[in-house]
């Protein structure tokens, strides 16, 4: 029997498309002469990367949920808010640990806050999917309306539990202040946020590219009907991804709350626009695109805030327009979309 390429040896893998990734260093190097001072540039760049990585943690779950089930969840912000508020309670309860000069004790308190924030956000995510999202599969308009309604209910619930006022969320003792690299001051917490973001990204890449579960998620994002036809119940997979995405939003809420050093009931709503910009820039359903998009958004917001505060408010909209003019489906479009 003859066939195409019958006698040819197996070909090497197709090289990855690195051009979108190169935008991140390109943006940073373009900003260097505009900022002027190298030390200020280093400070801003680390701040931008930290912000971008926190946004990535929050947005990664949402982009997978959209990719897998075509669900527009405008209520994602409520998981962020619950994560942040749970952190205020946990870190308040562990006051001795956070006031300690010991880096290990501080880190243990932050880890405890993260674990609690993620658990609560995951539980709320599970209930949110069952009660609010499940009845409106297939209808984007209803999804937008009901998930926004769900977020408002969640925010009111937060006011009932923690009160309507802003709550301070100070950094633990050993995480305050900055490291000095020459003249450049880099805040300790921002470095920690960068480390957490990179660890989350690495774990996600590992799961998505090296496990069968990851294969299922990637395939489901592209063609969920075919995944079901292969014998995998995608409904259960979706609930799992929704809950995991909510937990990641909770983790992002803890990190964002500590980044801002205070929390308000609508903390999630404040970052929701950034998150949607990130997932549109990245390509709906793409984790790699979400990562690059989040870094671009974080850096753009930080540089613009320093260089031209007037345009800072809409700098990310301009970024989104520029990216979509270059790649209308986002930086790394998923095959089906």
């Amino acid at each position: 029997m003859s066939a195409v390429g019958a006698s040819d040896a197996p070909l090497a893998a197709v090289p990855r498309d690195w051009r979108p990734v190169l935008l991140v260093p390109a943006l940073a190097f373009i900003a260097l002469p505009l900022v002027g001072s190298t030390s200020t540039w280093v400070t801003l760049t680390v701040a931008g990367l930290a912000m971008g990585l926190i946004v990535f943690i929050i947005a990664s779950g949402l982009t997978l949920v959209f990719g897998l089930m075509d669900v527009l969840n405008f209520g994602h912000g409520v998981f962020i808010a619950f994560g942040a508020f749970v952190a205020t309670s946990v870190l308040g309860f562990m006051g001795d640990w956070t006031a300690s000069q010991s880096f290990a004790a501080n880190l243990a308190a932050v880890f405890a806050a993260m674990a609690a924030g993620m658990t609560v956000a995951a539980a709320i995510g599970w209930a949110f999917e069952r009660l609010i999202v499940r009845p409106v599969y297939g209808s984007h308009l209803r999804q937008i309306l009901i998930t926004m309604g769900g977020m408002i209910v969640g925010q009111e619930l937060i006011k009932v539990i923690w009160g309507p006022l802003q709550i301070p969320l100070p950094l633990p003792q050993a995480l305050r202040g900055a490291f000095l690299f020459g003249d450049a001051a880099v805040e300790k917490y921002r470095l920690l946020a960068v480390a957490f973001g990179l660890v989350v990204f690495a774990v996600m890449l590992l799961v998505l590219n090296r496990t069968k579960l990851g294969l299922l998620i990637r395939a489901g994002v592209e063609n969920r009907e075919m995944v079901e036809s292969l014998g995998y119940p995608i409904g259960r997979l979706f609930v799992g991804v929704f809950v995991a995405g909510s937990a990641l939003a909770g983790l992002g809420g803890v990190l964002w709350g500590l980044y801002q050093q205070n929390v308000v009931p609508h903390i999630g709503e404040q970052v929701l626009v950034l998150i949607f910009i990130v997932i549109v820039i990245g390509g709906l359903g793409s984790i790699g695109g979400c990562f690059v998009g989040a870094l671009l958004v974080g850096l753009t917001a930080t540089y613009a805030g320093f260089l031209a505060p007037v345009v800072a408010l809409f700098s990310n909209i301009l970024l989104m327009v520029a990216v979509l003019l270059w790649r209308p489906q986002g930086l790394y479009p998923v095959a089906r979309r």
Binding site: P10, E225, G231
Partner: protein
């Protein structure tokens, strides 16, 4: 004719406000290749999707290997031993050929778990897949995607293959390759229900034939009889009219 593996009894399907199947009665004998022919819009694809549970039968019964699968969800139908190759092939373009195959092999968690002998057989049927093993499926040609879609359906033993228009858009050389592959599958006692519009492709394959029109089975018989009878071909498939028009 051997005992039927799949039986459809008076199956009706509604999609949205449309009544697409009007009481389909069909038997697919075990170990044979049954062809489902018909004009565009006759209900062939709808029949396959209804068997797979992708569209629900609104009335009637579907029995597979003696069990009623009418109300089962799609994953349960696939787990019962039915593999489906849709008309658009359904390959995952962002996944490599290797990842597509690994996903289709439900029992395998890693590449090392794939049945090596079966994989060697598939590579013999479709050598291009070995060549493009590490390639994203989205970068394959149409014919190669079709090979991958069929290979995915047979990476593990399945009782029944449902294949929707495998010849669509294929170059003649690839179509010939596909015919040879289906013949080999049939020799291995794989039961196949194959939807096809290309009669010249179909006549080289089928043991038995069912022809659909307007959501019903309007003819059942052997391929040999249909291939001999030009009047029947003209009436059921409009082949004469196509020839006159062209």
């Amino acid at each position: 004719m051997s005992a039927p593996l799949l039986v459809l009894e008076g199956v009706h399907t509604h999609v949205g406000g449309y009544h697409l199947l009007h009481g389909v009665d069909l038997e697919v004998p075990a170990g044979e290749l049954t062809l489902l022919l018909g004009r565009n819009g006759a209900g062939k694809t709808t029949t396959l999707r209804t068997i797979m549970g992708l569209w629900r039968a609104s009335a009637g019964r579907i029995r597979f290997a003696g069990e009623d699968i009418t109300a089962r969800p799609t994953p349960a139908i696939a787990q019962a031993g039915i593999a489906y190759v849709p008309e658009n092939m359904g390959v995952f373009g962002d996944l490599t050929v290797r990842e597509n195959m690994l996903l289709a092999a439900r029992a395998a968690r890693r590449e090392e778990d794939l049945d090596r002998a079966r994989l060697a057989w598939i590579f013999r049927l479709f050598p291009a897949l070995e060549k493009f093993w590490q390639y994203p499926a989205g970068k394959l040609s149409g014919g190669q995607k079709q090979m991958l879609a069929i290979a995915r359906a047979i990476i593990e033993p399945r009782k029944l293959l449902l294949v929707d228009e495998p010849s669509k858009g294929l170059a003649p050389a690839i179509a010939a390759n596909m015919i040879a592959a289906f013949r080999e599958l049939r020799e291995r006692d794989t039961t196949i229900l194959l939807v096809e519009q290309n009669f010249h492709f179909a006549r080289q394959l089928g043991d038995s034939v069912a022809v659909m029109d307007d959501g019903r089975i309007v003819y059942r018989g052997s391929m040999e009889a249909l291939a001999r009878d030009e009047r029947l071909q003209r009436e059921l498939l409009g082949l004469g009219r196509v020839a006159q028009a062209s």
